[in-house]
Amino acid sequence: MKKCIVSLLTIIFVSFLAQNIFALTPEEILNKVDDNEVFDTIKYSGVMTIKKGSRRRPRVKTFQAVARGKDKAYIEFTNPGDRGTKYLKLGDELWIKGTYAERADKISGHKLRDSMMGSDYSYEDTMDNEKLVDRYKATIAGAEKVSGHDCYELDLEAKVKEITYARLKIWVDKEQFVAMKIQYFALSGMLLKEMTVDKVKKINERYFPIKVRMVNKQRKDSYTLFEMKSIVLDEPVSESMFSKQQLEK
């Protein structure tokens, strides 16, 4: 009987040790997420379905997007109504050329905060490509299933002053290391938006979310469905894509 108890305790102790020694730290989890989601370059065709309020029909916007790192991005809308509207982000600058405009206009850096085409994404949200681990300090809050995936639940507190969201809560798939759900909080702690991933695709040995839904938690019936098609990751992109000439073409 004594032997039995000793062996049982040993098993419990060993499994406890194994769990703690081989378990991932929050930073490691975030690094894995960043490895999946942060890219050098990206090219894709996007579809944005914007729903605002219960009375309005969803609006659909289609576009072609190219981005390099966190500083350069180019978006050209292709849906009727917005066809020809182009955006170019160069660092903190945002240039816009309207459908019938002959020249591009530089928009103040503050405009990067505004909603993009009436969606629940700001310009900086759509062009954000910075590593989470550089901006947030993470702690593991638990584990939960999201859309059938076993996830780590992480609490992220901003570790830099200049940051869009002071706090995030993210659910990371334990196998694919994709952030399946992210909650965005204001400085006051109020929940602002919730992003959930509907579809993940394996591209070049990494798992990349290609269909996400952003719900505005401060508005009734308000969400934006963001879908990426024909994605090409980390292929060389011509520098001329990020020029004013391209924008004014």
Binding site: K161, E162, A166, A186, S188, L192
Partner: protein, 414 residues
Amino acid sequence: MRNIIILAFKNLARHKKRTIITSVAISFGIMLLIWIHGMLKWADNESQRNLKRYEFGNFTISTKAYKEDRDSFPVDMVINGSEIQKIFRIAEKTGSYASPRTGFKSMMSYKRGFGLPYIVFAIDPEKDAQVFNIKEKIMDGQYLDKNSEGILISAHCRKELGAGLGDYLVMETRTKYDTFQALTIKVVGIYDCPDPVVNRNHLFITRNMAEKNLQLEGTAAEIAFRTKNGNNEPALSLVKESLSSAGLTGLTTETWQELGSDYLTLSQTKKGGSTMIIFFIFIIVAVGIINTMLMAVFERIREIGMLRALGVRDRDIVSSFIVEAAGIGILGSLIGLILGIGVSAYSVYHGLDFTSSFKDMDYGYRTGTIFYNEWNPEMMAMAVIFGILCSVLVSIIPARKAVKMEITDSIRYI
């Protein structure tokens, strides 16, 4: 000449109905001229007063960078705490009131409904009340006190959001460091000010509350000044001198005229519009007089022929018609003056309510939708002179026509 005047006035008396009808047309034109000009004068002056009372004070101090990007209401190009204290001392020295303000763009929503954009100003309630008149325009609830955690909204905002006194709004904005901030704030007061730009766009919270929640770190985007004499000078020159002697070279001043230049440009354009009104009134007067005088000429061609046959000079006949027209002009202008004074008096004391016509329309003036009039004796005198001169000028052509015909043809004219 005496005979000509008597002849002219007898002719006027001979055709009483026609004289009265033409005079009424002139008096209507003169009345409109006096009334509309008085109203536009009031709207223009009231707009300028409101720019000072509700938007800018006499002048503001801000950083040069903020001045360049003012329309975006940046909260990171600001005056720091020690500079603010120096500016308060300068204000004291110049005998002016100064109020630090930080405006920031916010999305306001009520019960998770649509978010509507407003500019929320973080103010020091006590100091702000010395520079701006918002406190006097509270229609419901109360003005902010220094430690208030609530928000002061406008009557327009109440209508747009459907929220009332005591309701909680959600304010979404960004902090100085660009971080999203969202706060649930209780409506503690509702104001209704006559400046539509303020009424439609501006909400107010305390600087203390903004400090706590928006990482402002003791800064202010601008400091508005109100001078004791109501004029920019001499305070403005003193402030400029003091800023440079205090080494605050990164700061700059802007007068309410510079800040409200969009309105003032529009106002100049509107003045062109009022010239058009005067032109139309001239047309009304001219058509009335020409018509009456032509009728008189054609009616009296045989009489004119007879007078000329009896030896009356052409010049005297032309003069009699001109005096007749002047008589109509005097009568019409005086009636118009009396009517104009009457309508203006009503508008001066009671105003005319255009709320249902204007509703949420941007009519360009920084006034409420009840339009008042301002007394304008100069314009009244001008209108009377204008009415008489118009009548005289437009009567010359038909009068000359009267003496162009051969005497024999005139006598036989049917």
